[in-house]
């Protein structure tokens, strides 16, 4: 019974924790401009993150060590540094975007200017990382983040023409857009679904919670059930924007636009629920990205790390996270639009993907670490297909950014 409850809790937190500011903004932007014609990218991204998160969790469970630590040891400092540079910069951008996201959601709830909320949000993130136990932190934010299901509820309450919506699922470039903007947002959506921090957090989290090979079934269930259901939440966000914003000629540029379809369908109650969900989702993601920054740095330099240790026993790990939060505050204090930071962070995520996922694939095939838990043939074949997709997305991202003026 306890095991079943554990699996259910894992699935629920995986669903609630799947959506972050990148998914919220990118799916709403895409829904408002391209309708549901890019949903196939969400499906491709969700399958990819399931594949690599599962691989990463298996590495942690089989070796008892976090993926990045193994990559650093197995591939050497140079490959580790390339991986660290790419993932750490993206992490830092994502930390900034998530803190900005918390502040924007709190502004929507209170009308107090978001810049005033930024230090509060960052302080709260630091406090939770410093004081709250890993499992409580992960479960509470994941479960409260589940309230984002209100997007799906609002979609039903909006009573859309389901046939017309289903008709939009065919991948086509809408008349007012170009193939270049379509491709650019396809890459952004892919980057949002496959953000590198998710796998580093997932594998380091497995070590924090002391997973062993006995927990592999639970890990697999969490990933293979929780993430696809989380992906459905992303589709619901895009569908809400498609139903309410697209016909009005609105292109999403702010978080306030993202919540309008929910208010339209579910009124003030829906608005209250969605704001709680957005705060929980961005707060949870801010915790994960901040921790990921600490994990990657500590695992590369061989510092003592982990929330299972007292802060005094992992001082550099905690100091690194504090510095990351301060950098995030400093960037946001310049007045840069957090939504813009989010949009850039998901595209840069796509650029950095090969440096993150290739090493995971190599390590997951090393019997020295994995013993009998190395990748099977089917997983390797799918992994190779994804490496090609990731490489294409990574190479095309910057030229498309230039050609489309960052999607404008």
């Amino acid at each position: 019974m306890k095991r079943i409850l554990g699996v259910a809790l894992g699935i629920l937190t995986a669903i609630g924790g799947f959506v972050d500011i990148g998914d919220l903004v990118t799916n709403a932007v895409v829904g408002s401009r391209f309708g549901l014609s890019l949903v196939w990218v969400v499906a491709v991204g969700v399958l990819g993150i399931c594949l690599f998160a599962n691989m990463s969790g298996r590495v942690a469970a089989a070796s008892g060590r976090a993926t990045f630590e193994v990559i650093r040891e197995r591939l050497g400092p140079r490959a580790g540094l390339a991986n660290l540079s790419a993932s750490f910069l993206i992490n830092l951008m994502t930390v900034t975007a998530e803190i900005g996201g918390i502040a924007l959601a709190l502004q929507l709830a209170s009308s107090v200017y978001y810049l005033l909320w930024i230090p509060v949000a960052a302080l709260a993130v630091w406090f939770v990382i410093w004081r709250v136990r890993f499992s409580i932190m992960e479960n509470v934010t994941g479960l409260v983040g589940l309230t984002l299901i209100v997007f799906a509820v609002a979609l039903f309450l909006l009573k859309p023409d389901w046939g017309a919506l289903a008709g939009q699922l065919v991948p086509t470039v809408p008349g007012q857009e170009t193939i270049w903007t379509y491709s650019y947002y396809a890459i952004a959506l892919f980057g949002a679904a496959m953000t590198p921090y998710e796998v580093f957090f997932f594998s380091s989290g497995a070590v924090e919670e002391g997973w062993t090979v006995k927990d592999l079934l639970q890990e697999r269930t969490n990933v293979l059930v929780g993430f696809p259901l989380g992906g459905l939440l992303s589709v619901a966000i895009a569908a809400c924007a498609t139903v309410v914003l697209l016909p009005a000629g609105i292109s999403v540029t702010s978080l306030s636009q993202v919540v309008l379809p929910v208010a339209e369908g579910a009124g003030k109650l829906g608005l209250a629920v969605v704001l709680v969900g957005i705060v929980a989702a961005t707060f949870g993601a801010a915790l994960e990205t901040t921790l990921s920054s600490g994990y990657t740095l500590a695992q590369f330099f061989g510092w003592s790390w982990g929330k299972f240790r007292r802060p005094a026993e992992a001082a550099r790990f905690h100091l690194a996270m504090i510095i990351c939060l301060l950098v995030g505050i400093a960037v946001l204090a310049t007045g840069v639009d957090p939504v813009l930071v989010t949009e850039y962070s998901v595209v840069f995520s796509a650029i950095a993907l090969p440096l993150t996922y290739l090493p995971i694939l190599i390590v997951a095939n090393d019997p020295e670490y994995m013993r009998e838990h190395v990748n099977g043939r089917a997983v390797n074949a799918l992994g190779m297909v994804y490496l090609v997709i990731i490489l294409v997305a990574s190479i095309a991202a910057i030229p498309l950014m230039i050609v489309t003026g960052a999607g404008s």
Binding site: R72, E73, P77, G80, L81, Q107, L108, A109, S110, S111, V244, L245, A248, G249, I250, S251, T253, S254, S256, Q257, V259, L260, A263, E264, G267, K268, L271, F300, F301, G302, I398, M401, I402, G405, A406, S408
Partner: protein, 161 residues
């Protein structure tokens, strides 16, 4: 196992070079993505962005009148969208039109964007005045509807060029 990174003196210049290349690439990217087209194209983009902002504000006002949106959310939405209009106005203002025709287009665009800003001012005043105050939310919506019509006309005109 505790790992320490290898540091060879010859390799020290590589990260520095990589950092410079990275900075150069980011700067080039920023410049290239900021580069725009001619007056008509820039005005067209400004009209499109402002139309989106005005349409958003009208939905927010309607939802507020229907009791679906809180005052805090309506106020934040209006602030966000006014910022969008101001950004568009600023980009049109910075244009350097070369022909009399382009100068005329720029002037018309600035007039219409000013009308949008005035519509937002009425809407925000209505929100501050509260229920039963003057101007009312309906007045704000009316002012924004006028701005939306003007934007549509300008958009059609610029688009036909």
């Amino acid at each position: 196992m505790r790992n320490t990174p290898v540091s060879a003196p010859a390799a020290k210049s590589r990260p520095r070079l990589a950092a410079r290349l990275w900075m150069l690439a980011v700067t080039a990217l920023a410049v290239l993505t900021a580069c725009g087209g001619g007056t008509a194209e820039s005005v067209s983009t400004a009209v499109k962005d402002s139309s989106s902002a005005v349409a958003t504000a009208r939905i927010a006002l309607r939802q507020d009148m229907d009791g679906k949106l809180t005052r805090a959310a309506t106020s934040t939405t209006l602030d966000d969208e006014l910022k969008e209009v101001q950004t568009s106005r600023s980009s049109v203002l910075k244009l350097s039109p070369a022909t009399p025709e382009d100068r005329d287009t720029q002037k018309q665009a600035l007039d219409v964007l000013d009308q949008c800003a005035a519509g937002f001012a009425t809407a925000r005043a209505a929100l501050s005045a509260g229920d039963g105050g003057t101007p009312s939310l309906a007045d704000g919506d009316k002012a924004l509807a006028g701005a939306q019509d003007a934007l549509k006309q300008l958009g059609d005109k610029v688009g036909s060029k």
